[in-house]
């Protein structure tokens, strides 16, 4: 088991390396560099920068060096000092801007994961046990619908209903008095109070596919002889379900973290933009729009890293749950 964990963790290193390089290439991709943008902004306010100053600036930021040298500098800065560079638009170190937003993103994603499981598990079991009943058809219909409705559209429709029917604005994660307040118990409760709308919106698409998986797994198990045996022994139907087939059918739930997580993170970005949540999404979009590439690169790097760590955790959990996997 330990061997599996170690080898799987070691495999993370090249992946993280590729991700960081990818993020850096994305930073470099737009035409021109930081200094060109800087000069353009100064020119907009009628300040002229001569060629020497520009060259000086390039040298100071190391922009005159080859890509790979710049990359090494950038990644060493991150690894040794936690320095992600300077946000051009905000004139602040990137690290000051991202951490709170990343934390909120993490909270949002994790709550959504829990909600997805919480919804999908009982519905999937129900749908399998009551196969071809009206309830099953309704569930099937809604899960197909859930797969097809883009999460941002769902967010928009909910916003519309809330605004027109109930006359209130849905959006943000905090009430006004807490937006800039320091963290306190009140702020945490306020967060929980606001969190459920984005969580439900995000959970819908993940739930839809998980219900299908759970239903298929349960159907495979329900026909097996051990279920009949347990029933013959006089076990109550609920007891029987929870004790045996559900436990076996649960396996894919753990393995789905690996593919559910990238989808959740992607979805959370769009939904956060629509609902203007103070998570990574809106700031990422804004930084990309204004080509504030160090900020954007930091977000891409951190979001991808988080997802990779998530799939690592899911692989390890799966190895704990299913011995066959760690023997492979």
């Amino acid at each position: 088991m330990l061997r599996f964990i170690i080898s799987r963790t070691l495999w993370m290193i090249p992946s993280l390396f590729v991700v960081s390089f990818l993020a850096f290439v994305l930073i470099q991709l737009p035409p021109g560099d930081y200094v060109t943008t800087y000069i353009a902004t100064l020119a907009a306010s009628n300040e002229v920068v001569d060629q020497n100053t520009a060259a000086d600036l390039r040298q100071r930021f190391g922009l005159d060096q080859p890509l790979i040298v710049q990359y090494v500098k950038w990644i060493t800065g991150i690894l040794t000092r936690g320095d992600f560079g300077l946000s051009f638009e905000w004139q602040q170190p990137v690290s000051d801007l991202i951490w709170e937003r990343m934390a909120l993103t993490l909270i949002l994603t994790f709550s959504t994961l829990l909600a997805t499981w919480g919804i999908a598990l009982p519905i999937g079991v129900f749908s399998a046990v009551k196969k071809y009943s009206i309830g099953d058809y309704i569930v099937t219909f809604f899960s197909f619908l859930g797969l097809a409705v883009p999460s941002f559209l769902l967010a928009l429709v909910l916003m519309y209903i809330a605004a027109v029917q109930f006359g209130q604005e849905v959006g943000g994660l905090f009430s006004e008095q807490y937006v800039n307040a320091p963290w306190s118990m009140g702020k945490v409760f306020d967060l929980i109070h606001h969190l459920w709308i984005p969580v439900i919106i995000l959970a819908v698409s993940g739930t839809a596919s998980l219900i299908r998986v759970m239903r298929a797994n349960m159907l495979d198990e329900l026909g097996k002889p051990y279920v009949t045996t347990a029933r013959a022994k006089g076990l109550s139907e609920f007891h029987l379900l929870v004790k045996y087939p559900v436990r076996i059918a649960l396996n894919p739930f753990i393995s789905t973290i690996a593919w559910l997580l990238p989808n959740l993170v992607s979805g959370s970005i769009i939904v956060a933009i629509v609902l203007s949540l103070p998570t990574a999404g809106p700031l990422l979009l804004q930084s990309l729009m204004s080509q504030d590439m160090y900020l954007a690169g930091a977000f891409v790097l951190l979001i991808c890293t988080l997802t990779l760590i998530g799939s690592l955790v899911s692989d390890i959990l799966l190895a704990f749950a299913d011995p066959r996997i760690r023997l492979e």
Partner: protein, 375 residues
């Protein structure tokens, strides 16, 4: 194929039926998939000749019709003497301003009727980009009286006609993007599954890596790097390329799986022992037996592409106006104020959902029918 299906088909015909024939029989039994096929075919027909289905010029702005609500179509026409006939018509809307807020109020004019016609004459468009035509599926008998079936947007452009036009881009992004991912996926998945060994290991890791990445931030970053002043066609091509950069992994995995399971089949070994070249083994012997699976996977990959394009364009980093796609249209619905005044701006979203559901049903049916020998 199930036993019932076997019974339904004449035994003699079954014995000599080709694989594709068997698949078609299995597919036909899947009612939802048949509905999906019909809807998908209809949507792609719209995408092929959007001008014919449109009513008004999708780019024509009309200051007097900003946020014009959808018009009710009346079907039964009653004459003065009380007799009635089936003849669809609309009543034109009159624009009034609220004296206090100056907000536009549209009311039906009870005195006038504008009749609707099939194959009516309207604005000129190019059929298949070749033949100029003015015939439209539906239209009013008075060309100066526009018909707003799904209302109009901020600039008074007909939402319905724009959806028809947008189908062309939105649905073709799916096809082109999937074609690109398929090329990459078949190539890499094929190498991985056919040769195995070290190549397989490397490609497997690459696939896992791509699948573990959240796609939206990467698409956003790549799309943001595209120069804003590129022509629309190039921009369109780059967006599909960006979408397929992450889409190939899923297809590569399917192809690899099929190659792995077929590699050890007797007929492949036999072909190899016969001295068939590698190309012949792959294309003549292996490809036909997993083509159906690939087609099913493609059908399931297209809706994902459509959703991706819609999301990117909605966020403003995908296709740019004046290009019309469903995602671009949904940008109009981005802020709460405009959807509160004009909820019909959601209509493109409904089309996205219907297209995606139809393609998913179609793909599901194809996947079930893909292996007709598997009972």
């Amino acid at each position: 194929m199930t036993d019932a299906a076997l019974a339904a088909v004449d035994q003699k015909r079954l014995a000599v039926a080709s694989q594709w024939q068997l698949m078609w029989w299995a597919f036909k039994r899947h009612h939802l998939a048949m509905i999906g096929l019909a809807i998908t075919a209809f949507f792609y027909l719209i995408a092929l000749i959007p001008g014919f289905f449109a009513v008004n010029d999708p780019n024509k702005q009309n200051a007097r019709a900003a946020y014009h609500p959808p018009q009710a179509i009346h079907f039964i026409d009653t004459a003065q003497d009380g007799s009635w006939s089936f003849r669809p018509y609309i009543r034109p809307y009159v624009l009034k301003r609220d004296p206090q807020t100056l907000a536009a109020i549209y009311t039906e004019d009870p005195a006038r009727k504008v009749y609707l016609q099939f194959f009516a004459k309207g604005y000129e468009y190019n059929l298949l980009g070749l033949f100029p035509s003015t015939t439209h599926l539906i239209g009013t008998d008075n060309p100066n009286q526009p018909l707003f079936m799904f209302g109009a947007d901020r600039l008074g452009r007909c939402v319905y006609s724009r959806i028809m036009q947008g189908a062309q881009i939105s649905l073709s992004v799916g096809l082109v993007g999937v074609f690109l991912s398929l090329t990459l996926g078949v190539l890499l998945g094929g190498i991985s599954g056919y040769y195995g060994g070290r190549a397989d290991f490397v490609i497997q890791r690459a696939i896992e890596f791509v699948l573990a990445l959240p796609t939206i931030p990467i698409w956003l970053a790549l799309a943001a790097a595209l120069p804003q002043d590129w022509p629309a066609t190039l921009n369109y091509f780059m967006i599909t390329l960006i979408l397929s950069l992450t889409g190939w992994a899923q297809l590569a995995r399917v192809v690899r799986g099929r190659f792995l399971s077929l590699r050890t089949e007797e007929f492949v070994t036999a072909a190899r022992l016969d001295g068939a070249s590698e190309g012949r083994v792959i294309f003549r012997h292996m490809l036909p037996s997993f083509l159906s699976h690939i087609i099913a996977s493609i059908t399931l990959a297209i809706p994902a592409m459509i959703l991706a394009e819609t999301s990117l364009s909605f966020l403003g980093l995908g296709l740019q106006p004046p290009t019309i796609s469903w995602g671009v249209l949904l940008r109009e619905a981005q802020n709460i104020r405009s959807i509160a005044t004009a909820p019909w701006l959601f209509a493109p979203g409904a089309f996205v959902v219907i297209a995606v559901i139809a393609l998913n049903f179609l793909g599901d049916g194809l996947r079930d029918a893909a292996d007709p020998y598997n009972k």
